[in-house]
């Protein structure tokens, strides 16, 4: 399945774009996505941390992904 992934903050710099598309197996979960992303974009591994948000909520590693999900990478936040 093809997943669209939104990038913010430093991840936008890492991707060189505010949005990327990634081909993943139909059975992929959040952890699989992280592994794939870290393989493609090694700089993600050097961040202090990052989370995956699915449909505007922080997602656990075992959450199953679907093509119509809104997926975003959330690097360490620094609001306020």
């Amino acid at each position: 399945m093809k997943l669209k992934i939104l990038a913010f903050g430093i991840v936008k710099d890492i991707f060189g774009n505010s949005e990327i598309e990634l081909q993943m197996p139909e059975t992929a979960n959040v952890k699989d996505l992280k592994n794939e992303l870290e393989e493609k974009y090694e700089a993600l591994k050097r961040l202090k941390s990052y989370f995956i948000a699915v449909n505007e909520e922080y997602a656990e590693d075992d959450l199953q992904l679907h093509p119509n999900n809104e997926i975003a990478i959330i690097p360490p936040v620094s609001g306020g």
Partner: protein, 138 residues
């Protein structure tokens, strides 16, 4: 009363106070977060704030709901500015009002501390000789 706003316009403390106004509330705590002109000895020229807005609104709402449940306060206003800010600009205004002063101070502190931990807003510091996304690296 709960009010949440994310805007690229200048924030207005009087507007926040008006929204939180409640004749039943005798105590109002406010927190203003402003842009510093230096960090770790380096001069900051400007900050660039970025936001995943729909999720940020949801996360702020969760924090406010939790603060109301935990501290039994009545009114919480959170206005956050994004875009390009310069030293002295207000980046966030929080107003909490209720009948009890201990609760409003505690709720106000809880709200700002938790916003800094969970709300998807990011800032980049721009110096004369470079720039850096805050907290991104260990």
């Amino acid at each position: 009363m709960i009010d949440i706003k994310i805007t690229d316009q200048k924030l207005d403390i009087n507007q926040c106070l008006e929204i939180a106004q409640d004749l039943g509330s005798g105590g109002i705590a406010t927190f203003l977060g402003t842009v510093r002109n230096q960090t770790k000895g380096k001069s900051v020229i400007r900050l660039e704030y970025e936001c995943y807005e729909p999720m940020a609104i949801k996360e702020i709402r969760k924090i406010i709901d939790q603060a109301i449940a935990q501290f039994s306060v009545r009114n919480i206003v959170v206005h956050h500015r994004i875009g390009t800010l310069f030293p002295g600009d207000e980046a966030i205004i929080i107003v909490v009002s209720d009948g009890h002063r201990d609760a409003v101070f505690e709720a106000c502190k809880y709200v700002i501390d938790t916003i800094k931990q969970t709300v998807p807003i990011w800032k980049k510091e721009v110096f004369e000789d470079g720039e850096e996304w805050i907290s991104a690296h260990p």
